[in-house]
Symmetry: C2
Subunit: 365 residues, 2 copies
Amino acid sequence: MASKKLLLLPGDGIGAEIMVEVEKQIAILNRHAAAGFETETALVGGCAYDAEGAPVSDATMALAQAADAVLLGAVGGPKWAGVAYEMRPEAGLLRLRKEMQLFANLRPAICYPALADASSLKREIVEGLDILIVRELTGGVYFGEPKEIVDLGNGQKRAIDTQVYDTYEIERIARTAFDLARTRRGKVTSMEKRNVMKSGLYWNEVVTRIHRDEYPDLTLEHELADAGGMKLVKAPKQFDVIVTDNLFGDMLSDIAAMLTGSLGMLPSASLGAADAKTGKRKALYEPVHGSAPDIAGTGKANPLAMIASLAMGLRYSFEMIREADALEAAVAETLEAGIRTGDVMAPGCTEVGTGEMGDQVAERF
Amino acid sequence: MASKKLLLLPGDGIGAEIMVEVEKQIAILNRHAAAGFETETALVGGCAYDAEGAPVSDATMALAQAADAVLLGAVGGPKWAGVAYEMRPEAGLLRLRKEMQLFANLRPAICYPALADASSLKREIVEGLDILIVRELTGGVYFGEPKEIVDLGNGQKRAIDTQVYDTYEIERIARTAFDLARTRRGKVTSMEKRNVMKSGLYWNEVVTRIHRDEYPDLTLEHELADAGGMKLVKAPKQFDVIVTDNLFGDMLSDIAAMLTGSLGMLPSASLGAADAKTGKRKALYEPVHGSAPDIAGTGKANPLAMIASLAMGLRYSFEMIREADALEAAVAETLEAGIRTGDVMAPGCTEVGTGEMGDQVAERF
Ligand SMILES: CC(C)[C@H](C(=O)O)[C@@H](O)C(=O)O
Ligand SMILES: CC(C)[C@H](C(=O)O)[C@@H](O)C(=O)O
């Protein structure tokens, strides 16, 4: 079997610690399933800025472009609060997303049954929740120009960001959402602010057309993003796939993640278009949670979202469906067995650190 | 006492029904407190478009500018889904906000003790919740130019919206938030996406400066809007006043409202700057909820948010603090007595319609 190249970018904060636990699972895949994974590690974020003078170096970009998949921990932290805008840790992540053209960000919001009580929502509202947020990731206000602060010369400055969406960008993310809905419960909810934004109006129009022309067998609903956010909080189980733009996706996917009570458990996949020749997609997998600088280095971080991100990689980049299922089952079984890191500790459970949690999953994998 | 001019704009959907209940309370104020309110009624939203050809006519705009305060019900509904963008019902509301320069939108998110169980969140998370979202209302992506859909000529279109904030816009909303925090628990949390948006970066800078120079005795915290949204869902009681831009404010205030379980109970105030001569501020008061076209005309709508909006008007436009307190107490007592409209009905309570609810509040006022 040809070797599979994984680029590991642990990043800042707890990134390094949780990546170690992923490497344990990769070792198992290589040993028991002869998976042939080859890994390489590089810097991204604040640590890259400190060591290499940029939040992601050109050399690391080249490695990312050449890899079959990238696994990323997290970036950022108060240490770099004063760094110039272009050099801030997040700029490294944004460059990876943009230059690898990872336009489709898949964020499952799943409530692990063992963790339903960790949610701030009532158990019956979130138990069994399984929704998928499909967030556009290379467009919108994140990248549109002009994006600047200009001096107006009269003691006033003006800060500007630009939300831009072209037809093809909306078409491809809509198709991604419909394709995924077909493998699930067949329903897509598109969210925008068409009552206020021209981009929302046009988003609505394009998604509606793609549905009518290409996926008439599926269900499409539209929600204003504010009303959709309310429905997420009130009754999230009414949704299956939610498709939305970069900024609304940022907000809504974080809120959906928090609903589940399983934030430390949730992975994400960022995918590019399928290559016309090879059919391969560029891909980056990362947890939904951040770099948690407050607990970095204490061995308390929950590695499960990072491990679940590897499972998404097995599924979407390597078609190793059986292995992905097995790894996800190992995570769920570890939780069922009452093994918990501090963030999701509950009465009657056993509290473990980062390394022990990785070992427990590895044993069941 | 000089007469006080109120412009009533019931709008679409349930707007007319709930405005009737407000008129009952105004009648009491005039009868028992010789308040001297004079009311006039005009159209806004879809009904204005149908009858007058625009979602708000120039004549209505003139009435609004001349009034001491405007009370608005709600606008919009599926009936006008096909109307041209410039003529949609929401355009009427946006024109009122912009031309009256109502830059400060105050949205209290209060959990009425009697309704804590109506929340999808656990009782202990929301019981006693009392936060205030201060949303910038006349700037940002709602009004920035360019705002358009352009034909690129190659089968592609491009949709553009522009987020714009000038120094003075951020300064005045920051001051509003700090002034309000001083009358509360003294803490302001500013939310933006400084890690992605230049407007967020600049917002952060200006709010920080206003705090340092003018309100050093108060507490200021900063949150990224996505992380702030998560914290709202997880532990909303950590906040006091939240200050944020127009679009984030739209999302975050709706989510905060939904947390309380009291959506049908929540009012809002939109205020302009104090006039240099008279000290008077232009003002518009409206419920946070929408026009609920599905139940319009059935007599089931909950009028309490609309009545609570009048209470905010008494407080902020007329300095009738005692009357505002009394009206808010009447609302709370009605709920404590187990009187409920269908949306917040609970076992052991008495279900009433819109008119009966208004009467029950009037009795206790
Ligand atoms: C780190 C930051 C730039 C990023 C974003 O805003 O996209 C993060 O919040 C996310 O959701 O992946
Ligand atoms: C009706 C709509 C234009 C409005 C907004 O987006 O501001 C509403 O959602 C609100 O929050 O008042």
